[in-house]
């Protein structure tokens, strides 16, 4: 857990209050016995069992001792015992928890089984059992509460250790010859620290309560020593005479217990996923950036998709906004296949999601103009947009396993599309689903329609995904890395399928991929994205004449089956800029061999050849040898 996270945990009002309370309690625990220790022991025969008086605000006990002072002084003992029990619990739990990782397989299983058995045993019963074994008294109670909590803590450690053990870096350390104990100390424990800290904090709170309970029952602290639980027990006998005597220690227990638990919870909240509140960026921010943004080319006539100055922003963790998509212009004509190429973080997928109105809730999507299949989604209620676009835009995702509902038959899921959007009857919809599965060449479609998604192979699932898009007649198919998770032979089949579907239905296809060779196979036009913007767009046939240095570098850096093995591959120095920290001007300039002072101003997309536009102050005009060789040496 980093310093920032601690700070965030304390900044949260609940966390701050809890931490403040704990500091107060700690101070009390240190100073109260020093200041009032003796006074709290002082018996006053003149004031036995008094109610509230000016001298004793909370009254006195049977021996005439001041209850308020006793409650304050008992802080040290109560907290100390609770923390001691927690420490025992954590140490025993961690030891038991990492034991399976250190021992061999068989001994490890034995430990795991024993721990599981102990977890199943009720905690309080375990504590009472230990209390009997260790004898009645503070020592027995500490051991009892500590050991009673150990099994569940051990289980937590085991689960987390098992999760981390499966990670590659642990395997790598093992291969490097790191011993078992060092492995636990250096690699396993530090990486599971967060849940352990949270749980230990919460556990301290419950240990405090358990202790008060045991003392109250007379199984904990024995006289003359006293803690809150004991004071509560004594006070309760006379609750009708002097309610404050019982209430004060009770309140102390509750407040201290709450402080621990709340602190634990607020740490957990910071460590875990925080709910992000939806925010809107300031308007001025957008207007300033819009001035320099790229726009869609003027296209007379028909379009199935027009995006002009599309921007997708997210609230930055440190305040402000970042724009992973920062002024994209994109036009797709009916029946056209357009490929969007870019590396991870270039904003290509987010562009597609924003166009399909599927951007995450926290995102802020703006555009000077956005029209999808003749619909302008902006300014309309979400349900209406879904209704309008539901049948006109089909999405194919990278991992179809996550885009299908695993508990529904594939046929039923396909049928649902037309049942919802077109109000078709169940039987007719199912028949159409089978027909569409046949269209995408799923063998034995009747049988397959009754299967669940997990019974499909990756390639078949991707076909089914395409079939789902074809349940109505889409005007636009957006395929986001549809073949990245597939083997090459299956990739080829899916790409061919997309091509056939496109030819048969006349739908436009937008293919998003990191692999420029894949895009070149399927598409007519390529749009290259870098750092949230379009840097070049050109017809596939002109790839050999790519003008932007980034496009050229991408083309040259990928080996294919004709690459000269004796020459080093072309590389691009540096790394893409972080969206929060993009350089002024051309984002590629820091990695570009041709960059000069002119590149400090952001270049807009400008025509460099017919149908080819590049956002570069120094577009290259020399044909790209490598690609030309490959293009002319190919089979077609």
């Amino acid at each position: 857990m980093g310093r920032d996270q601690w700070r965030a945990a304390l900044r949260n009002p609940v966390g701050a209050a809890a931490a403040g309370l704990l500091v107060l309690l700690a101070v009390l625990a240190v100073v109260a016995p020093i200041l009032w220790g003796d006074a709290a022991e002082e018996t006053d025969p003149a004031a036995l069992s008094q109610g509230s008086t000016s001298e004793h605000p909370l009254g006195t006990d049977a021996l005439g001792r001041d209850i308020m002072l006793r409650v304050l002084v008992a802080t040290r003992y109560s907290l100390g015992l609770a923390l001691l029990a927690t420490a025992i619990c954590v140490v025993a739990g961690v030891l038991l928890g990492v034991l399976p990782a250190v021992l061999g397989r068989r001994a490890g299983r034995l430990v795991t089984g024993t721990v599981n058995l102990a977890v199943a045993f009720p905690g309080l019963l375990l504590a009472l059992f230990f209390a009997v074994i260790f004898g009645v008294g503070a020592r027995g109670a500490v051991l009892a509460i500590g050991l009673a909590g150990a099994p569940s803590f051990a289980r937590l450690v085991q689960t987390n250790v098992a999760a981390v053990s499966g990670r590659d870096f642990v395997a790598a350390a093992r291969l490097a010859g790191v011993g078992r104990f060092r492995l636990v100390a250096r690699h396993l424990l530090p990486n599971i620290g967060e849940p352990l800290v949270v749980n230990a904090t919460v556990m301290a709170g419950s240990a405090l309560l358990a202790f008060a309970g045991l003392s109250f029952l007379g199984l904990g602290v024995q006289p003359p020593a006293y803690d809150w639980g004991r004071l509560l027990g004594e006070g309760l006998d006379r609750i009708y005479i002097n309610p404050a005597a019982a209430l004060a220690p009770g309140v102390a227990v509750v407040v201290a217990g709450l402080a621990f638990t709340l602190l634990g919870e607020s740490i957990a909240q910071v460590v875990g996923v925080r709910a992000v509140r939806r925010r809107r960026p300031p308007v001025g921010d957008q207007a300033a950036a819009a001035a320099a943004a790229g726009s869609a080319p003027e296209t007379p006539g028909d379009t199935v998709l027009v995006a002009d100055d599309l921007r997708v922003g997210f609230p930055a963790p440190r305040g402000g906004w970042t724009y992973p998509v920062d002024g994209v212009g994109l036009t797709v004509r009916p029946g056209e296949t357009v490929g969007i190429v870019g590396e991870s973080g270039s904003g290509k997928s987010l562009t597609a999601l924003a166009v399909a109105q599927l951007a995450p809730d926290t995102a802020d999507v703006t555009a000077a103009r956005l029209e999808v299949a003749g619909v302008e989604p902006r300014g309309r209620p979400e349900s209406e947009v879904r209704e309008l676009l539901g049948t006109k835009v089909a999405m194919v995702f990278q991992d179809p396993m996550t885009s299908f509902n695993p508990s529904m038959r594939v046929g039923t899921q396909l049928a649902e599309v037309t049942r919802v959007h077109e109000g078709q009857g169940r039987r007719a919809a199912l028949a159409r689903a089978v027909d569409r599965l046949r269209t995408v060449r799923v063998p034995a479609p009747e049988r397959r329609a009754h299967q669940y998604p997990h019974e499909f192979s990756g390639g078949m699932r991707q076909r089914a995904m395409v079939a789902m898009g074809l349940m109505s007649t889409p005007e636009l198919i957006i395929a986001d890395e549809p073949t990245t998770a597939l083997d090459v032979t299956v990739q080829r089949q899916v790409l061919r399928l997309l091509k056939d579907v496109q030819a048969e239905t006349g739908a436009a296809v937008v293919l998003i991929s990191h692999d420029i060779a894949v895009v070149a196979q399927l598409c007519e036009r390529v749009v290259v994205m870098y750092a949230g913007r379009v840097v070049e767009e050109l017809p596939v046939g002109q790839l050999g004449a790519a003008a932007h240095p980034y496009t050229r570098a991408l083309l040259a850096s990928v080996p294919d089956l004709a690459t000269d093995r004796e020459r080093p591959l072309a590389t691009i120095p540096g790394r893409p800029p972080d969206p929060a920290d993009r350089p002024e001007g051309c984002a590629f300039a820091p990695r570009c061999a041709f960059a000069d002072d002119a590149c400090r101003v952001r270049p807009g997309l400008a025509a460099v050849a017919p149908e080819q536009r590049a956002a570069c102050w120094h577009p290259r005009s020399q044909p790209l040898d490598l690609v030309l060789d490959v293009l002319s040496g190919g089979r077609s």
């Binding site: 350390a173 790191v178 077609s636």
Partner: protein
């Protein structure tokens, strides 16, 4: 550097109906000082083979030898080092780069260690000052370099690289491939280079072995395997590799609609030749070839060209090879 050899290596997971033979009697030799590229699709068992070599999964039968001596103890296996696919997962996020690398250095003094870490970082083209950074401050390509440096720190006899460029962006992939090739030439490393990408394997390898459903179906010098494959599966892989100027519409033999489009389940591999249901020159297109569905071609493989596991290995030649 030594020679790594697998002899009849078999890895089986589970038992009963859920049993799965991930690696099935693999014979493969990685000669000293050379790079053997192992290609195959997901589920072919190529990663499992590498994990078996370093002892991350137990072998069911067969022997893995280093210069003829079987690897048995953890100490033996440390002479092999594995570089993992995902550099985001293979470095401990809590340890600095220097600490991660130093862990693999043994029996040295603290000062000597720091110097060695710096030398290794320089070897993989990273600034030695990077030793103090955490992995989160590095890009994917830089992390993969650190992972390589850590593997080299253990002074391995053989390096096994398991899909080391698959998780990287294409612009970074090139520099890592250049580094692998450069290191191999400078240090004379023995490398088993595993990838699903034929073009990548071709770029770094001297020998290419093709794996299908747990078995090596073809192995031979890289140029020979790629220019005149002797197993129809290799042919299919070559045809499917996306390349510029290769149109999707160009029919290839594997597009024959009579063939299965799906890979068979490894839980229940087909009888005879494991590839026969997807084979463009097999029984589904040539019904007279019943031998493919009945007789396992694997036993005769050592006598065929490229040790091909195909009854018609010589005939594969007649398939036209595109001029490249």
């Amino acid at each position: 550097m030594r020679e790594l050899s697998f002899e009849g290596t078999t890895v089986r997971f589970g038992s009963g109906r859920s049993a799965l033979t991930a690696v099935d009697g693999v014979d493969l030799t990685v000669p000293a000082g050379s790079v053997v590229g192992l290609v195959g699709e997901s589920g072919s068992g190529k990663s499992t083979l590498a994990k078996a070599a370093v002892g991350l999964v137990p072998t069911t039968s067969g022997e893995i030898r280093l210069d003829g001596a079987p690897l048995r103890t953890r100490r033996d296996r440390r002479r092999l080092q594995l570089v993992f696919q995902d550099p985001h997962a293979s470095l401990d996020p809590r340890m600095t780069v220097g600490e991660s690398i130093a862990e693999a250095l043994r029996g040295r003094r603290r000062s000597a260690r720091a110097a060695e870490v710096a030398r290794l970082l320089e070897l993989v083209d990273l600034d030695p000052a990077r030793a103090r950074s955490l992995p989160s401050g590095l890009s994917g390509g830089q992390r993969q370099r650190v992972a390589l440096a850590r593997a080299l720190a253990a002074e391995p006899e053989v390096v096994l690289a398991d899909e080391i460029t698959s998780a990287l962006d294409v612009s970074v992939q090139g520099s890592v491939l250049n580094l692998v090739r450069d290191l191999q030439r400078r240090l004379g490393l023995t490398i088993l280079f595993i990838s699903h990408n034929l073009s990548v394997v071709r770029y770094v390898s001297d020998v290419i072995a093709v794996m299908y459903l747990g078995r090596i179906v073809e192995a031979g010098p890289a140029d020979a395997v790629l220019s005149s494959p002797r197993h129809p599966y290799t042919r299919t892989l070559l045809d499917a590799a996306p390349a510029f100027g290769v149109a999707l519409d160009d029919p290839v033999p594997a597009d024959d609609p009579r063939l299965d489009t799906e890979a068979p389940s490894p839980h229940d591999p087909p009888t005879g030749c494991r590839f026969h249901r997807r084979c463009p020159i097999g029984p589904l297109t040539r019904p007279e070839r019943t031998i493919c569905a009945e007789t396992d071609p694997q036993p005769g493989a050592p006598d065929r060209p490229h040790r091909s596991a195909c009854h018609f290995a010589s005939e594969t030649l007649t398939l036209e090879v595109p001029a490249r």
